[in-house]
C-alpha cells in the first residue's frame, strides 16, 4: 500500500472545544501534534453552544465556590457521576475560563469590568461566563485563533474510519480525505478522541451532521469500554416549527433571562411538578422566580430552570395530554417581560440576539412580541468512552478521550453550561497526559494488513454500486426507530423492539451501495457513518434495558422511580466477539471529604 502517511507524537481526532484545547496543551509541551477534523477548522458543533460555560468564579455572587459547583453537578447527575471528574471540573474550570481571555476571548462584562456570569438550570448561583447567546462561537474562535500560531498540523475535512492497535496499545488509524476520497495513514504514540456526540442517531436533534458517534464507534471497535450510554439528554426547548428546522436549539438562556413555559390553556405548568429534592431551591411563586432571573440574591429560581431532563418530561406530558401548541410543542414566552421592564424589546435583542434572528428568519416570528413554540430535542449524550478521571486515558493504553465522547463528569444528566467547561478542563488534561505518554513511549508499529482490511471495508459500498441499499434511507429509518422506541419515555418492550429492528438495520447497512467517484461523495460518507450510528444505537438500547429504574436523562415508564441498587453502578458495554456485551460496574466509593461537601450543600 502506498497511501500518504503522517506521523505525530500526539494525534487528535476532532477540532471542537476539547480537541482544540488538547492541541494547545500538547503543542505547548513540545511534542508534534496532528489534528484531524471532519469539517473545516472552526465549524465543529461547539459553535452551536449558546448559553455559556460554567465556572465558579464568583463574580456575580461571592457565595459561589468549587464546592457548590461540585455539589450542583453531582445533584444534577443523580450521583452516578465519576466524582473525581466532577471535582476536577469544578476546581479547574475558573482557570480554564480565565486563560481564554488571555487568548483573546471577549466575554460579556460585569459592572466592575470582570467576566459576567449568568443563571442557568441546576446551578445554584449565576455561574455561566457568556457572550450573548453565542458563547460556543466565542470559545471555538478563541481556541482556533490561538492554535493556528502553534505549529499544529491541521488535516481538515478528513474522516477516520478505524483505529489500529499495536499489542493492545493505540498505534494509528486510517482516515480518508473527504475532498479527494483518498486514504491517509496516521501513526501516533498517543491518540485523543474528541469527536463529540451521537445526536444523529435520533430523528429530532440539535446536533450538526457531525454528531454520528464516531469516537464512540472507533473506541468500541478497538475494544474500549463505553459507560452510561443509557443517559441521553433531551433538551427541553428545541424549535418545533417549521418542519425543516425541527430540533434546532432554543437556548436555556431564554429561561435564564425570565422566559416562562405555558401550555395551550395559558397555564404556567412548571409550577405543578417540582421534585422534592429541588423544592428548597425553587421559587414558591412567579414573582419570586422573576426576581431570581433579575439577580435578586434572596430569591430562588423559577421552576423553568429545573434540570433539563425534568423540564423535557413535563413538556412531553403536556403535549401528550393534549395541552400542547398547534405544532406539537408548548409555548416559551420571553415577550411577557415587557410587563416588568421598560425597553424590554431592546433588552431581549441584546441578551438573546441569535434567538431573535433565528426565529425571525426561520419561523417569521418576533420573540419580543410573541411566544415561541418549543419541544424536546436530542441534545447530548452523557455516556461515552470510559476514562480515568485524572488522565482521560481510556481502557486502551495510549488512547485518550475528552469532551462529549468521553463519559463520567455528567452522570445521569448534564447541567447546562457544564459542557463547554468540560471541553476546556478535560481537553487540557487529555493534551497534557497524552503528551507525557508520548514522551515515555516509542512509536508503535502500524500493521499493514490491518490497514488493508479497514480499506477493504471502507470501499465495500462502491463494490455493491447503486443497486445496493440507499444509505440515506437506512439512516433515516434508524433515526425514526430510535426516536420512537428509545426516546424520552422508555419501556422494556419498545426497546426490545428497537433491538430487533437494529438487527435489520445492520443487515441493510451491510448491503448499502454507492456509485460514482470517491471525491466529496456524501452518499459514501453516509454509508461509513452508519457503522458508528448503529453501534451507539445498540449501546444506548442495551444499556437502557439494563438500567431498570428512572434516573436523570433515562426515564422508564415501567420503572418510574429511582432504585437504590442502581445508585452505585454504571452500565458498561464492550465488544465481545461479534456481539455487544452489557454489564454493571461498581462506582468507586466517594471519599468522606467530598461526601461532606454534598451534604452541606443539600439544604
Amino acid at each position: 500500500m502506498s497511501h500518504p502517511t503522517h506521523s505525530y507524537d500526539v494525534l487528535i481526532v476532532g477540532a471542537g472545544g476539547a480537541g482544540l484545547r488538547a492541541a494547545i496543551e500538547a503543542a505547548a509541551s513540545g511534542v508534534s501534534v496532528g489534528l484531524i477534523c471532519k469539517s473545516l477548522l472552526g465549524k465543529a458543533h461547539t459553535v452551536m453552544a449558546e448559553g455559556g460555560m460554567a465556572a465558579a468564579m464568583a463574580h456575580n455572587d461571592d457565595r459561589d465556590s468549587w464546592r457548590v459547583h461540585f455539589a450542583d453537578t453531582m445533584r444534577g447527575g443523580q450521583y452516578v457521576n465519576n466524582w473525581r471528574m466532577a471535582e476536577i471540573h469544578a476546581k479547574e474550570a475558573p482557570d480554564r475560563v480565565r486563560e481564554l481571555e488571555a487568548w483573546g476571548a471577549v466575554f460579556d462584562r460585569t459592572k466592575d469590568g470582570r467576566i459576567n456570569q449568568r443563571n442557568f438550570g441546576g446551578h445554584r448561583y449565576p455561574r455561566l461566563a457568556h457572550v450573548g447567546d453565542r458563547t460556543g462561537l466565542e470559545l471555538i474562535r478563541a481556541l482556533q485563533d490561538h492554535t493556528i500560531y502553534l505549529g499544529v498540523t491541521v488535516h481538515m475535512e478528513h474522516t477516520v474510519i478505524d483505529l489500529v492497535l499495536d499489542q493492545g496499545r493505540a498505534a494509528g488509524l486510517l482516515a480518508y480525505d473527504r475532498h479527494r476520497g483518498t486514504f491517509q495513514v496516521f501513526k501516533a504514540k498517543a491518540i485523543i478522541l474528541a469527536t463529540g456526540g451521537v445526536g444523529r442517531a435520533f430523528q429530532v436533534t440539535s446536533n450538526s451532521w457531525e454528531g454520528t458517534g464516531d469516537g464512540h464507534g472507533l473506541a468500541y471497535r478497538a475494544g474500549a469500554e463505553l459507560i452510561d450510554m443509557e443517559f441521553v439528554q433531551f433538551h427541553p426547548t428545541g424549535m418545533v416549527w417549521p418542519p425543516s428546522v425541527k430540533g434546532i436549539l432554543v437556548t436555556e438562556g431564554v429561561r435564564g433571562e425570565g422566559g416562562i413555559l405555558k401550555n395551550n390553556q395559558g397555564r404556567r405548568f412548571m409550577f405543578d411538578d417540582i421534585p422534592d429534592n429541588y423544592k428548597p431551591q425553587t421559587a414558591s411563586d412567579p414573582e419570586e422566580g422573576w426576581r431570581y432571573t433579575q439577580g435578586d440574591k434572596s430569591a430562588r429560581r423559577p421552576p423553568e430552570l429545573l434540570t433539563r431532563d425534568h423540564v423535557a418530561r413535563c413538556i412531553n406530558r403536556e403535549v401528550k395530554a393534549g395541552r400542547g401548541s398547534p405544532h406539537g410543542g408548548v409555548y416559551l414566552d420571553i415577550a411577557w417581560i415587557k410587563e416588568k421592564l421598560s425597553g424590554a424589546e431592546e433588552h431581549i435583542k441584546r441578551k438573546l440576539p441569535s434567538m431573535y434572528h433565528q426565529f425571525k428568519q426561520l419561523a417569521d416570528l418576533d420573540i419580543t412580541k410573541e411566544a415561541m413554540e418549543v419541544g424536546p430535542t436530542t441534545h447530548y449524550i452523557m455516556g461515552g468512552i470510559r476514562v480515568d478521571g485524572d488522565s482521560q486515558m481510556s481502557t486502551i493504553p495510549g488512547l485518550f478521550a475528552a469532551g462529549e465522547c468521553a463519559s463520567g463528569i455528567n452522570g445521569a444528566n448534564r447541567l447546562g453550561g457544564n459542557s463547554l467547561s468540560d471541553l476546556i478542563v478535560f481537553g487540557k488534561r487529555a493534551g497534557e497526559y497524552a503528551s507525557a505518554w508520548a514522551k515515555e513511549h516509542p512509536q508503535p508499529h502500524v500493521d499493514e494488513a490491518a490497514l488493508a482490511q479497514i480499506e477493504k471495508t471502507a470501499l465495500a459500498p462502491f463494490e455493491r454500486g447503486s443497486s445496493g441499499e440507499n444509505p440515506y434511507k437506512v439512516q433515516e429509518d434508524l433515526q425514526v426507530s430510535m426516536q420512537a422506541l428509545v426516546g424520552i419515555v422508555r419501556t422494556e418492550s419498545e426497546m426490545k423492539e428497537a433491538l430487533q429492528r437494529l438487527v435489520g438495520f445492520n443487515d441493510r447497512a451491510a448491503r448499502v451501495g454507492v456509485s460514482g467517484s470517491r471525491e466529496y461523495h456524501a452518499g459514501w460518507h453516509t454509508s461509513l457513518d452508519l457503522r458508528n450510528l448503529l453501534t451507539v444505537s445498540e449501546a444506548i438500547a442495551l444499556s437502557a434495558i439494563e438500567r431498570k429504574e428512572s434516573r436523570g436523562g433515562h426515564f422508564r415508564e415501567d420503572y418510574p422511580d429511582k432504585v437504590t441498587e442502581f445508585s452505585t453502578i454504571n452500565v458498561m458495554v464492550k465488544q465481545s466477539g461479534d456481539s455487544m456485551r452489557v454489564s454493571r460496574v461498581p462506582i468507586p466509593p466517594i471519599p468522606d471529604e467530598l461526601k461532606q461537601v454534598i451534604e452541606e450543600q443539600k439544604s
Binding site: S39, L40, L41, G42, K43, H45, V47, M48, R98, E101, A102, W103, G104, V106, D108, R109, D112, G113, R114, N116, V131, R134, G136, L137, E138, R141, D145, H146, Y149, M156, H179, S208, W209, E210, W241, P242, P243, S244, V245, I248, L249, Q361, L362, A363, S466, N470, P471, Y472, K473, E476, V514, S515, G516, S517, E519, Y520, H521, A522, G523, W524
Partner: protein, 247 residues
Amino acid sequence: MISEATFKVWRTHPGGDGTLQTFHTKVSEGMVVLDVVHRIQAEQAPDLAVRWNCKAGKCGSCSAEINGNPRLMCMTRLSELNLMEPVTVEPMRTFPPIKDLVTDVSWNFRVKKGIQKFTPRPADAPDGTWRMAQRDVDRVQEFRKCIECFLCQDVCHVLREHNKHEEFIGPRFLVYAAQLEMHPLDTADRIPALKEEKGIGYCNITKCCTKVCPEHIHITDNAIIPLKERVVSRYYDPVTKLLQMFR
C-alpha cells in the same frame, strides 16, 4: 405555497468544468434551500457534494450563490424566492471549485495565519485577569460575531474580478484585524502591515461585503473605514508627519 419546484444545481464534471443540472423536487412550507439540496441528495443524486454543518446559521459552512446572490443555504427560505421560475444554486465563484457546490477556501486559512496574533497587555489584577468595561468591548464583540462563511470574500470585487489574492486579504480579514486592533487589551501594531502587505488600500468601500454579511456586521463602516483612517493618520496626516520628524 406550491408543492413542486425546479432547481438548477451546479455540477462539476471530471476535468474541472461544470453545468447546471435540473432537478424537479417536492417542496413544503418552511423549507430552506439546504433542505432542497439534501432532498435531491437523498432521492436523486447521492453523490451531490455540499458542505454544511449546523443548519442554523451559526457555523458558516453552507455558503453558495442562490439565484446569483451570495447566501447561506440554511438561512434562505423558499418563501423568499420566486418558485415559479427555476432557482439556481451555484458554488462561491471567487474560490477554486472542488466538486459541485464545494469550493477550496483554504486560502482564507493561510491568510489568517499571516496576521499578527493577539498580544495582550500585562494583566490588570494579581490573579492574572483584566478589567474591561462592556462599552469598550461592544465594538469588538460585533466583529467577533463573524462565522467565517467567507461570503464577504466571495462578493468582494478586488478578489472576485481582480484576483488580488496575493496582495489583498479581503473583508473577512480586515474585520479580523480590526477586531485585534480595537481589542482593549491588545498591544500589537498591525497598521504598517495593513498598509504595506495586506492591501487595505485596494478596498474602495463599495460595501458589497456589508450587504451579504449574514451576521449583519457593519464591515465597511465599523471595521474597514476606521482602519483606513488609522493608516491615513499614520502615514498621510501632515500634523502627524511633522510630529514624527521631531520624535
